[in-house]
Symmetry: C3
Subunit: 205 residues, 3 copies
């Protein structure tokens, strides 16, 4: 699997994740430094946790100067073009869904390459995809939105499972990341369009 050809998708995913972090941070009235930090951890946090868990030092997200560039760009855009972002909400959600699928697939790939364990690969694939958003919400002192509603982590889980089938050579490895990204994006966009949610568990009165 040549993940090198995916570097454009990687940077695009990093960019839209950083955008979501920056917008949330501005909404909480953080200062310039805080906005950059929250954008950074939203974009890179999931991958850093994955790398810490498989013992890959240093975590890739901390030494990639390209990431810093797109994250700074995302922060600046969020600061100066908020109105534009609102009008572009739909495309942003689409790119976010593509990034979600890519990060899930890449997380599975890297984890499985280091330590070929099925459970670990799935868990770390999902963490790569949604971990940054969880840290973003913890830093902003609110219950992580990914835990409360929306088909988001579930879409990431679907992408992770498809990529794992590729790692296990059940399906073609050249094909699996594309399938993971496509199906994750499809499920996520459909859930937004039709407002699907996972059920909350009813609290008995």
């Amino acid at each position: 699997m040549e993940f090198e050809v995916f570097s454009a998708i990687d940077l695009m995913g990093t960019f839209v994740f950083a955008l979501s972090g920056a917008v949330a941070a501005i909404d909480r009235k953080l200062d310039v430094f805080g906005v950059f930090v929250v954008a950074f951890v939203t974009a890179c946090g999931g991958g850093v946790i994955r790398d810490l868990c498989i013992g890959a030092f240093p975590p890739a997200g901390l030494i990639n100067i390209d990431y810093l560039g797109v994250i700074a760009l995302a922060g600046a855009l969020a600061a100066f073009f908020q109105h534009l972002l609102l009008r572009l909400a739909q495309p942003t959600l689409f790119f976010d869904a593509v990034g979600l699928g890519f990060f899930a697939a890449f997380g599975v790939h890297k984890a499985y390459a280091h330590l070929p364990n099925v459970e670990l690969a799935i868990v770390l694939g999902v963490i790569t995809a949604v971990g940054g958003g969880v840290i973003r919400d913890v830093l902003l002192s609110r219950v992580p939105v990914v835990l409360t509603k929306e088909i988001y982590a579930s879409a990431a889980l679907l992408g992770a499972v498809i990529q794992l089938l590729g790692e296990l050579q059940v399906i073609d490895q050249r094909f699996s990341p594309w399938a993971a990204i496509a199906l994750c994006t499809l499920v996520r966009m459909l859930s937004l369009k039709y407002q699907w949610n996972l059920p909350a568990i009813k609290k008995s009165s």
Copy 2:
């Protein structure tokens, strides 16, 4: 010390810790995925932090398929039998106390076996026992209950110290985990019965 014979206690502790996470997550109206995640981190989070700190890759909690099973079971029970759980609060607290003592002892054992340092073993023993509950409360956006009241971490600390005496061969190693579990459980149950709390430090007005 043959911790293999303790695997039943390990699974039981994992189960009751997951139960406490699932109940708290349902109380906050998380969705099905969120409830499972919070149950998982409550049960496995302390051990994962311990393993990251001693460089044991991958963290044991992420590759144990048995854990996934008991955690899913705990989540389902919390969802469908909330009334039963309320009636069983007392036994649940007992098993939780036993699990607390076991995790503290096992944390000390694993940390000390990796890196024979007394301070590290005690700190990581306590983190193994209470770290999952701290992450649970952080994810649910509230001050960790273990930091505010109840003799809980203190009981874990007692268990950790007793196990450390075993590692240092001050007391018999075959005996120490049982003593750690028994005394931790005893102190915890007595503190519940008589509503012992550690003092809060009075804020001067």
Copy 3:
């Protein structure tokens, strides 16, 4: 660079950071154990994250018995001499600024010695300096103050950059930590005196 001669500054920084954690924890009515834990993570948390990210096991903050001593001392002082602390707020802020500069410089030094990567050194230098305060605020369920206002992280960043210039031998290595500490302290104290803040990004209405 002989960081051994800096051990007095290290302990002093640990002490004032622990003090800030203990005071905040008492303010939230935590119990004795909680106050100690929050003081501990405030003082040692940043360094522990740094060590986890560079694969330095075990994290230095978990095996240094001297730290435990000064942290316990800070907790006791915060508990019993709150009035005194209020009168000493200005000196405390000064020592905190010195500790901030030292931790930033030391973080850069240790990270760069392990893995000579410029981005990693800067990021981990800043995390060493401000990471403990972020964890403190997350545990106390509030948005980290370092992300919202005050020239604090920026002063740490300045210290980190100066130390990095020393690591890269742009400036004399024997000189760089002193310059880092001095300039970080200066900027921090001036920002307090004149109430400088980084701008918050205006949320468009």
